[in-house]
Symmetry: C2
Subunit: 209 residues, 2 copies
Amino acid sequence: MGELRESKKRDTRQRLSNVATEMFSARGFDRVTVEEIAAAANVSKVTVFNYFARKEDLFLDREGDVKLFIREALGERPKGQSPIDALRGLVDRLSERKHPFARVDSQTVAWWRVVGASPSLEARVREIGDEAVEALALELAGPKADGLARLVAGMIILTWRTAYAEAIRVFEHGGSVKKANAAFIALIDRGFAVVRQTAVSAPRRKEPR
Amino acid sequence: MGELRESKKRDTRQRLSNVATEMFSARGFDRVTVEEIAAAANVSKVTVFNYFARKEDLFLDREGDVKLFIREALGERPKGQSPIDALRGLVDRLSERKHPFARVDSQTVAWWRVVGASPSLEARVREIGDEAVEALALELAGPKADGLARLVAGMIILTWRTAYAEAIRVFEHGGSVKKANAAFIALIDRGFAVVRQTAVSAPRRKEPR
DNA sequence: GTAAAATCTTTTACCGAGTTAATGTTTTCC
DNA sequence: GGAAAACATTAACTCGGTAAAAGATTTTAC
């Protein structure tokens, strides 16, 4: 049933991702060409694009997981739990597991430094964020998600991104891992508290000018 | 003092922007090359990049204004007015002026269709949005803006983007201009109401699992 | 008005990401 | 073992973007 083939493919893919990540970390994303990566992995340039649609995906390999995690957390939540509480629980679980999405340490900071130094990587990260918003809105409100659902979804992802960025900033400013992660959780709670109110708070009438 | 030179430059720039916008609208952003634009404007390819750093900027020429408007609205606001009220006022003013940032009609919808059909244009729009967030955070909290300021700024821009996208959606789904703009304002009010509360609402403690 | 300096444009040549099509090589399955 | 399917490679190409040098135009100074 094609076992050797499959394992070879897994292997090549992993090798490419590893080799590329190492080279990007050492020299910066924009100072490494796809051809160099191909050569270092004993493969041709075309093959690289056969495995990764864009150069950026060589570095952002695991980032599609965001959508997966969200879907899981919302799908498997206990009866009666609100979506926002389910996501708050997801943050805790990922944080305990020391998953890079919810935990800052010297490794993740180094990783983000590479991203921050490359406009195209940053662009791709933004794109992935938007995909997550759309997926979350769908999860929250079904196939005909309206503007409010998208607004709530946007605020959740925005909170996550902002909290993460703040944690990185704290760490890079000489803060300890502990402080950085505390800052992360603090902002998450801030943002999520707001979202909790959004779903029920009525819009305020604009005042006449 | 270099008058002829200046006017010629303004002219060339405008010609490039016009020619490009027309071609993009007719054939789609990705189906027009920079060389074609250069030829149509009687100029060389290098000159195009002399005026516009990226191809995308040929279509998104006026989008840097977002930051300007924000700075203006916050800088010139009457004593005692909160930043969020100042921005709410800006929305009304732009809307009355029928400015494309705050008003949906068949023209703006056509414009967004071009954007939506091109990944690179969408990416650039996202980038401009992030720049606006950073500028707004700076305006709200000064040079050492913290995570909360960035969160609030992010929510404001997010609200704007989401409201606008929703208005477009309403219009394209057969809604009238009136309905589309009503949807825009409704979501703006929703999001801004949330932001008003954020600045004062305390974060909720997480419940023990 | 003219010459020199400053500024803008063009030409040419190049790089790197990404695509396409044809050819070559492995793996699979019978 | 051999045909068919799956994958990799080569080669040639497109397009956005950059760099350097040469050419043209405008400005400034005299």
